[in-house]
Point group: C2
Chain length 316, copies 2
């Protein structure tokens, strides 16, 4: 199933999200307005808005608050893309030149900050303290994750627990803000809030694991950066841990400083580590699906269920 088919039950809302996102990044200052329009206008799957909206659908919800949450989560996501591209030195994103390829490092980070602040500003119109607290905590978690990533590069031996912490703070935390936040806004009972929280967390973990696998296996033309760029930057992701685990020879290499990086990336891509990493992502997606068991079957539950398949099967 395509992402559009999966999200058909909320396609009207997602169209409104597009219009509202464009409005949210209209700023007076022209250079800033231009880069935001490019970033927001060039698309993206809008998974976080979709999750925010779907999570509200099990109970009647004020649509204004639902949209506010949806837009806030996407703006935070856009901000982290800006920062990630800088940290990863990526030059292309969604077919357009990245901000960091045109602006100084400082200006790039400040542009990301501005979007974070805009997201916080928009979120502040949600009159729900619990959602606002989750949202603020998420911002902090993401910032701390970015700093850890910037510092943790190329530490040897790589720390698998640190990898999970990292993808949790970088990706899963915002998925949780979307699903738990949506559930709270809908006035769902606590067991449903917990279920949608668990769904969001595990879906987010699966999503990032697949992203990290695709960094090894996808087409460079689709990636917009060289294959294996995480490893080139000294960031160790799930496939690397499986590769080290499965291959005594690889472990014997010691740190990767002295190896031929092209050959190493090639070796990992063609090793059983890829399948093992994908199996782990599938288990996380299954845990996400299992969390939906308490909901009666309907089109929204089915969309959430199918999204968990989609994040595993997607090719980017």
């Amino acid at each position: 199933m395509s992402i559009n088919q999966i999200l058909a039950p909320v396609q009207d809302e997602l169209q409104q999200v597009e219009a509202r996102l464009r409005q949210a990044v209209q700023v007076e200052y022209v250079p800033l307005a231009n880069v935001f329009e490019l970033l927001i206008g060039s698309g993206g799957k809008r998974i976080r808005p979709a999750l925010s909206i779907l999570a509200t659908k099990f109970h009647p919800t004020k649509s204004e608050e639902m949209f506010t949450l949806a837009i806030s989560t996407e703006l935070v996501h856009a901000a982290t893309l800006i920062h990630d591209d800088l940290i990863d030195k990526s030059s292309v994103r969604r077919g357009s030149p990245t901000i960091n390829s045109r602006w100084s490092g400082t200006a790039t980070v400040l542009a990301g900050d501005f979007l974070l602040a805009r997201a916080a500003d928009i979120a502040a119109s949600i009159e729900n303290f619990r959602v606002m607290r989750i949202f603020a905590r998420t911002l902090m978690t993401i910032c701390e994750g970015e700093i850890r990533q910037d510092f943790a590069r190329a530490q040897w031996p790589p720390d698998r627990a640190e990898y999970y912490r990292h993808i949790e703070s970088k990706t899963a935390s915002l998925f949780v803000a979307a699903t738990e936040g949506g559930a709270i806004l809908s006035g769902a009972p606590e067991n449903e809030i917990a279920a949608l929280r668990a769904y969001g967390r595990n879906l987010g973990m699966a999503f990032q694991m697949v992203d990290d696998i695709l960094d090894f296996t996808a087409d460079e033309s689709k990636l917009g950066k060289p294959v294996g760029s995480d490893l080139r930057q000294g960031t160790f992701t799930l496939p690397v841990f499986y590769y080290l685990e499965q291959d005594a020879h690889a472990r014997a290499l010691g740190d990767f400083a002295s190896v031929d990086i092209e050959r190493l990336i090639d070796a990992i891509r063609n090793s059983p580590a890829i399948a093992a990493a994908k199996a782990e992502a599938q288990r996380a997606a299954q845990t996400a699906r299992d969390a939906l068991a308490i909901f009666a079957d309907n089109i929204y539950r089915r969309a959430l269920f199918d999204l968990a398949n989609y994040v595993i099967e997607r090719t980017l």
Copy 2:
């Protein structure tokens, strides 16, 4: 009067602020914890917490919310210091090496971001939507101001309206968050909220104007950076506008690209522009004091009044 004498009526609260600030910047991640401890531990005048606290004192206020506002504003201030030092390439702050002198630009901005996010997280425990909205809006204003500053450097002719916009977003907005926020938390009537808002805005404008004057007139040993460093960075501040206005010869120089910067800084420092700039700061401080007229005389009003003298008279 010394700042300690002025703030004597809230000295117990300010001592608690110190303890709470140290607690607020305790983070698990050691490198980050170290730089925050250094930044927060090395002092500062705590003017924003003092304003937050004083602004609550005209009506009975829950002390927990008062402290939360006080700490949030100081954390935002600390975050902007981190970003400012990077943008200005300063190497010393409060007698300690700056973060940017030890970390990469990206890591430095992310450390500032983390403090902003922490501030937002702490502010989110204030159960008052209006204060939270002011706080979120302030974060956005500050971020936009930082971006404008980073881009507006060395544009010729310099734009005086842009200067006022800049110091409003950079400094006055956070003073307003402190005073207006405090007034709202205290349950003050709207006319008092408006008065404390006007006080905070004008005090903040005066404060930044004096900062910009001191950049020309203070001791380099106190500044921790060369005299005239704003101008060296291509940032035009109030003394420069008066200098250009008063000196036809200076205007005839065209942009400053070809002039001897040391001689120019010296010329500005010894020109009537300094006194003219200070007179403007004094007028702003007077407007701040005038806004206090609606309050009955008490020790808190007197402290706010004296603070408006202090920001003009201070030597750093």
